[in-house]
Structures are given as C-alpha cells and as structure tokens.
Symmetry: C2
Subunit: 228 residues, 2 copies
DNA sequence: GGATGTGAATGCATTCACAGCA
DNA sequence: TGCTGTGAATGCATTCACATCC
C-alpha cells in the first residue's frame, strides 16, 4: 500500500524544495493580478510537468491545521490566494522568523543588505563577529556585536534560526556554540560539512558548487558537439 | 543491461553535484597533509554512505581523457592527489574560467568581494550595471561598466560564463542579452525561473529557498515532538 | 585484513493515464 | 470540455553483498 504520492505527510525533501518554488512563483503571479492558475501553467513557468505539480500539491491536502480536503478546483485550477496561504502555513513561513547572522565579512554584509529575506517571513535581528575591528560598525540598522554576546542574545530573544557566514575554519566552532545555545536551525554558507546533533536542522549553501556544475555542463556539451 | 551505476558517462545530475563536494573535501584534506582516503572516511565526512561514494567515483573510470581503469587502490583507498586531478578534469575546472558579473547591487558586490571563486578555477573579469550612478565605481580591481558594453566585451574576450545578480524584474532581459551574445552558461541569483535556449547551461541559486526549508524542518520537528 | 568495484535488489521520485467533478 | 486527484507503471538513485585485489 501507500503508492502514488503517499497521501498524508512525511513530505519528501524534493517535494518540500519545490513547494518553496511554487510559493515564490505564486507571489509573482499575484503581483501581476492573476487569481487562479492551473497545474500545467504553473509547471510550465517552472519547467516542470503538470503531473508533478499536482502530485506535490496533493501533499498539502491533509497537512496539519487545514481540514480542507481538496485545494484545487476542478476545471479551473488553483486559487492563488488560497494556495499561497496554504503553502506558507505548511512551510512555516506564515509567521515571522527572527534570524541571527554570524560573520560580518563580505558575504555577511551582503546578506545584511539583501532585501529578499524580509519579504519571505524572515528578519535579521543581529550580527555577530569575532573580529574586534568589525564590532560596533553599523550596517543598515544593525551594528556588529562581539561573538561573546551570541549565546546570551539567543537566550534572551528566543532565537531559533542562525546563518553562518564565517570562514570555513571557524564554522564548526560557531555551529557548536549555536547548538549549545539551543538553536533549532542553521543555514551554513561556509564551504565545509558541519556536524550538528540530529535535532538541529541544517542546510548548506556553497555558491561555488552550482558554478562548478555549470562549468561541467558546458564542458560536457562541448565534448558532445565536438565529436558529432 | 546497464544496471548498477552505469559504467561510462552520462553522469547523472545528483552524482555531478556530489563530485563537487568530494573535490571540496579533498582540497581540505590535502591542506591537512593527508595523502589517501577511503570511501568510508570520505563518506562519513560528508554524511553519505561509502557505497554511494564508490558508486559515484566509479563514473570517473572511463571519463574522457584518462585511460586509467581503476582510480582507487585496493586495501588503501584513493590517493588524494590523483583523485583531485581527475575530479577537476571531469568537472572542467582544471582550467581557468573567466566569468562576467551582471549587477553591482548588494549581492553583486558581495560576489566581487567573495574570494571563494578564485581558488576553484573561476575569475571574475568584469562587472556590469545599468545604473549610471554605479558605473565607473571601483570594487577591488574592477570598475563597473555600463551594460551597453556587455555584448562587445563578451565577444572580445570570448567569455562563456556569466553570473546574473540583478533584480528579478530585469533578470530575463539580461539573460536574453547574454544568450544573444553567445554565452554558454548562466548562474542566476534572481528569484525567477529564467527561460533560455537548450544549449545554454543554467543553474539557479535562491538563498531564500534553503532558509525556508530550514523553517519547514524546524516547524515539522516541533509538531512531531509536540504530539509525542 | 582492508579496501575497491560492481551486479543485483531495493526503494523512492516521477510520469502515465484515467476516473471524477464543475 | 477542462482540470484536479490519484492508483498503477516506470525509471532512476541508492544500498546491499560479495568477488576481487594488494
């Protein structure tokens, strides 16, 4: 039993990732004033198949709070406002997440300046760095605090999410500190594989990896073209 | 036929992504002075299984240039220098890729300042922006050029890779321009799904997506803990 | 002994194809 | 007719288990 897209939860990881993309796309469509969208339109706009979109969205049927059974409307697709709300609720971004940033180097400062988080339910509430020269410098509304203040700050403000943007050599130390302070989730930009306890959610972003993948794609295509 | 990890090419996408991670890890291990590593050690350091590592690396056996049949050494694992060279060659990063950056906003400036590319075979050789106020401003060794110079620059320097770091609304236009100029690969940081011809390699990086995934992971874990 | 390389087995993600509904 | 929701079929990624080699 339990064939097809396994009605009812454990939402698989690849599905969850696409749910984020659906949400992003719906927000764009909403800004354009659209009210409904079909699985095939949504699929095409993201270069996916309509069956995959429907399959993914079917995971939302019985998710947590909503008792609603069907989310699409036969013959006319999905209502953008409904679906957006349901996605936000499922992903947990229907509330504001306060996030701390560790590392005020180039990458850290870029993240501070990056406006994209605010519109998606996240707010950077503090920046920390171990370099005394950087401490007290201001970026936008935030001024850099010493790492020694990190643990008390997390406790005092009940922070659950942190972004690690320190050099690779310091990343594990920072992760350990954050873990000990009781953090729930970590977004790691350092190019190392961190070790954290099972109860801490961890994702890595290494911008060199996709760039390398492109180099690989291009190289492979050239080889194919070459010997044809 | 062709069961198991399909000896001989078309390297699947998930495999190619992990090859990048193996390379990154090997570079770290090399810096620590190690000479060899076993599939199980490499696996553990990246939280994978040893069978997966061996399976992935077996794709390198007959790849393009190298005529070597076996890359590991029975009883003693893989030689780090050998494997590093083979990975670089396979991924296409055994040579220098000159990359142009379009967009000198917060993200673009961070990428300029980010040192990580240089050590992995990529060099940012020019920055472009359409905002006249930004043009001619210098960041590090590069000064911002007007987008009108983009196409001639690409032709003149035979650039094949570009990074898009402009607002979502401008990204498709920039992609079209780059495509028309004959670019081979695009790394897109704008939160939109771009449309490019099949012969152009495209990858997306949206830092809000992994952050949302973490929020989702944390939310789900809380629900599980809650009702247990 | 300790490791690789790989066919065979498993399990998961995606697609197909169609019943059912507006 | 147009579209969703989903069981069944496919196909791909991962793991198992073991022959093999130093």
């Amino acid at each position: 039993m339990a064939s097809g897209p396994a009605r009812r939860s454990p939402i698989p990881d690849p599905v969850a990732t696409r749910l984020s993309l659906y949400l992003r796309q719906l927000e764009t469509l909403d800004r354009r004033g659209l009210k409904t969208i079909s699985s095939s339109q949504l699929a095409e706009s993201l270069r996916l198949t309509s069956a995959l979109v429907r399959s993914d969205l079917s995971y939302l049927n019985f998710s947590s709070t909503s008792r609603t059974r069907k989310i699409g409307h036969s013959g006319m697709g999905y209502r953008i406002d409904e679906l957006t709300a349901l996605l936000r609720c499922t992903l947990g971004t229907d509330r504001l997440w306060e996030v701390v940033l560790v590392g005020a180097g180039n990458l850290g400062r870029a993240l501070l300046a990056y406006g994209g988080f605010a519109t998606r339910g996240f707010r950077l509430v503090a920046v920390f760095d171990c370099d005394p020269k950087k401490v007290a410098t201001s970026y936008g509304e935030l001024s850099v605090r010493p790492v020694t203040d990190l643990v008390p700050f997390i406790h005092e403000h009940s922070i659950s999410l942190a972004i690690i943007a320190v050099p690779a050599t310091d990343a594990q130390d920072v992760a350990d500190t954050l873990t000990a302070a009781g953090i729930d989730g970590l977004l790691n930009f350092a190019p190392v594989s961190l070790r954290v306890p099972d109860h801490v959610a961890l994702r890595d972003v290494d911008i060199s990896v996709p760039l390398e993948q492109i180099a690989f794609d291009v190289t492979r295509r050239r080889q194919i073209t070459h010997l044809s």
